[in-house]
Symmetry: C2
Subunit: 162 residues, 2 copies
């Protein structure tokens, strides 16, 4: 009886372990490559103003940004992070059926395999670990993944530096 | 004896399961939030031409892109995917010490906490699961994470649709 219980428990744990590994490497259970991205802060609205508030540990990464006119904000469509929504490859742009069905890679739809959103935002002010921006088409609390300043501040147009 | 073996096996599997969970949530083993991104294709150079080749499974996502003049390409600085390089928060832009030390979020440096790269590329042609682009400042074989067409194709400037 104990032997049977042992074999049963072992099998169950292996199955559970297997499921966890499958989730780690992709919804399909295949061993496809995955990269990890971590929120560096959030978008926050307060009293009609909009801020990007970084976690304190990333504050040093903002040095110099106060001299830029705009910032490219990379954030995550976190409300759509399900295998079903990430499997959507075609949409009617703006959800308007008058627009023909279009591949998500031709749109900025919030449904896409990798839920990366990009907006270029005018900078109002940079202070400590926060940036006030004019506006952004993102939900309050959206996780921010990356920020990039004005590309041409350090690079000549036509140059190939990064 | 069998009972002991059972308890021992159970413990080992729980420990292994726990380690796997820790890796899943970040290299440090901490429980910070992480999102997974998956390559949808790669950048490929051939005979002086440059292509974005998507995995066949994503081909449907390109529908309509052939009518766009350019595409925003989101790719991954995969050569820098180490905890050490992802901890870099300040750089001398273009590696030139004449440029003052600057926060990575004010630059397009390939060293940054999330190794997301963005380029706007002119489209030469779209065929099947491939796009020929004029040029891109990326290494051959770089993993592509996302593509976005001309934002204003479906949206009026000043509108708030996405």
């Amino acid at each position: 009886m104990k032997t049977l219980l042992f074999i049963f428990s072992l099998s169950m744990l292996c199955i559970l372990g297997g499921c966890r590994m499958a989730r780690q490497s992709g919804e399909s259970g295949s061993d496809r490559v995955a990269y990890q991205v971590y929120p560096i802060g959030t978008i926050q609205r307060e009293g009609g103003r909009t801020y990007i508030v970084l976690d304190k540990q990333y504050e040093a990464g903002l040095k110099g940004l106060q001299t830029h006119d705009y910032v490219i904000v990379v954030y995550w469509f976190d409300k759509n992070d399900t295998p079903e929504k990430r499997a959507i490859l075609q949409v009617h742009p703006r959800g308007d059926s008058a627009h023909p069905l279009t591949g998500v890679f031709a749109t900025h739809s919030p449904f896409r395999p990798n839920l990366i959103a990009i907006s270029q935002c005018d900078i109002v002010a940079v202070r400590d670990n926060g940036i006030e921006i004019k506006e952004i088409d993102a939900m309050d609390g959206s996780p921010v993944l990356d920020l990039k300043g004005d590309f041409f501040r350090f690079y000549k147009p036509g140059g190939n530096g990064k």
